[in-house]
Symmetry: C2
Subunit: 215 residues, 2 copies
Amino acid sequence: MTLKLHNFFRSSTSTRLRAALNLKGLDYDYVAYVLRDGEPRTPAYLARNPQGLVPTLELDDGTNLTQSLAIIEWLEETHPTPALLPADPSGRARVRALAYMIACEIHPLNNLRVLFRLRDQFGADEGAQKDWFTHWVSTTFDALEDALANSPDTGTFCHGDTPGLADVCLYAQVWNNRRFDIALDPWPTISRIFAALDALPEFRNAAPPNQPDAA
Amino acid sequence: MTLKLHNFFRSSTSTRLRAALNLKGLDYDYVAYVLRDGEPRTPAYLARNPQGLVPTLELDDGTNLTQSLAIIEWLEETHPTPALLPADPSGRARVRALAYMIACEIHPLNNLRVLFRLRDQFGADEGAQKDWFTHWVSTTFDALEDALANSPDTGTFCHGDTPGLADVCLYAQVWNNRRFDIALDPWPTISRIFAALDALPEFRNAAPPNQPDAA
């Protein structure tokens, strides 16, 4: 099977998916898009992904899978080993909830098109954008730190000692935070887990600076 | 099993979960919170849900499940019939992608705490909030309409003729749109699916005006 990953080095959702593919041991062809230039809004790309967002995972048969979390769940179902979700339903619910805290409460508010909209609608300059970005990271990272630090289910990684769905989201978000130089000091558990993930080649090789289109 | 649903009638994520519980045929005790009064930020509620968000689903054994999509996946795994996801991985990927288009690209940008933040940081009045809200609904509904109208997998509902995960998200979002009187005319397929869902008691009974805490 040849997988083709349509993505962008700095995109947080792309980073998540690269880490998940690496954890599954799956090779993929890397196709880069320049978000600032609006490349994903071309008719050719919109035919793959009607939202004009990255990433899209193109399969052998021409199927285009969209939405990073949906693609990762597909990977989990079609390539179950190694698992990115625990076996028990309550563990799976915990890991998905941790992942969605990031994927539904931080990332959607802080991606490039939202920052552009703040600039265009409210005249938000770099400083105002940073305040906005930092506010949403802090709000959810405070709760995430609490959820991780106070649960016996937290291990080396978000859930036990095997990296999974919550970890790929956490790892990508911490990289994204660097756009505005957000230090991890207020969140020691998140910081510790990030360091443990960053020591793994599957994550390190998914990091933005290590992609072919990194500036 | 006694389920206790901590929620708010107008919350879109609560509406999603109520519809999913109704589709599964599961009864629940309804516990209402007033979001505007900051009730979910009390220490007692934060102990259930460190984000201070609704909904939370409390189980018999005291476990508190958070994040609506994680709870719905848990329901699907613990109460598989009737299914809210199709059986085949590619169908599941499609349904999840449609759901996440709404859950990750519209709702997070348009909920109450974001509108409050726009007011507080940028002085956004009701009109500016409506422009913002409408922009994100339109951007994703245009793509969702395209994805639904151009796929042979779309049926009476988002995927075939059985309502599921994408439908509970679509139904809740359309109700949420009414906060700013957004008409569905530009999106005929979304409009048709919403009408079909609204004719089902499982959805109708989950709608905001039909909850005990509705004004």
